[in-house]
């Protein structure tokens, strides 16, 4: 356990729903090194898995691919930053919104969860070879 954690870890995953459990395992491994509440760790794992799921669902529209996505988790001075890089369809930022939470229907909750858990969600154009670069950030007290 690291009370003054300076973490920077990254891993590649095949863009597939079957990779989501590996995304969670990677995230859990990283957060095990940080002295924060288990509830917060679980929330962060959920936010990361939801963002990875959005890449599979939306950037690749569920298509089979051998492409990989990269996830980078960095923590420095209490600033947690999680980067997602993919080579799927360019994200149309204006079209990204969660459904109204009182409109009860399946789907559209992943982005809502991410926004609930994280302090900031920023979409950027990826630098080559990436197409999309998503940054989730949160101030962490530990």
């Amino acid at each position: 356990m690291n009370n003054l954690a300076q973490i920077s870890e990254q891993r590649d995953f095949v863009v597939s729903s079957s990779s989501l459990k590996d995304v969670r395992s990677f995230s859990r491994e990283v957060f095990e090194k940080v002295n924060i509440e288990q509830d917060l760790k679980d929330e962060l794992v959920l936010a990361i898995a939801e963002a990875a799921q959005n890449i599979v669902k939306h950037a690749y529209q569920g298509e089979d691919t051998e492409d990989k996505m990269e996830i980078k988790i960095s923590l420095s001075n209490g600033n947690l930053e999680i980067g997602f890089f993919d080579k799927g369809r360019p994200v149309e930022k204006d079209k990204i919104r969660h459904r109204k939470i009182d409109d009860i229907k399946p789907g559209g909750l992943g982005t809502f969860f991410i926004q609930q858990i994280m302090d900031a969600v920023v979409f950027k154009e990826g630098e080559k070879p990436w197409i999309n670069h998503l940054i989730l950030s949160k101030k962490i007290d530990y």
């Binding site: 729903s17 399946p106 789907g107």
Partner: protein
């Protein structure tokens, strides 16, 4: 995810186990939906579900709505702490039947 279905009279009890994400939602629906379509009351036992994401929540919503449409119900039983937290984050604790 693994599952077990038991019957108690007109009630079908589906015990789900493991992590429910986008990769297993079709499998979960294949188990749950035919029971609802047979107009059974369905109890989903979520005691052994350690993780559920928005895709899993979508299965719960879809099941609830299908059951309501067909005049039966889906009741969530023994909900694990982690699943309850996600249900509450989605503000569904007043919508879904929590038994």
């Amino acid at each position: 995810m693994s599952y077990k279905v038991t019957e108690e009279g007109e009630i079908s009890i589906v015990h789900l186990d493991g992590e429910i994400d986008m990769d297993v939602t079709e499998k979960a629906k294949e188990v749950i939906m035919p029971l609802i379509e047979a107009k059974k009351e369905v109890h989903l036992n979520l005691k052994e579900v350690q993780y559920m994401d928005s895709s899993g929540i979508s299965v719960l919503i879809e099941s609830h709505q299908k059951a309501t449409e067909l005049g039966t119900k889906v009741i969530l039983k023994d909900i694990s702490k982690s699943v309850l937290k996600v249900i509450m984050m989605a503000k569904l604790e007043q919508i879904l039947n929590l038994g």
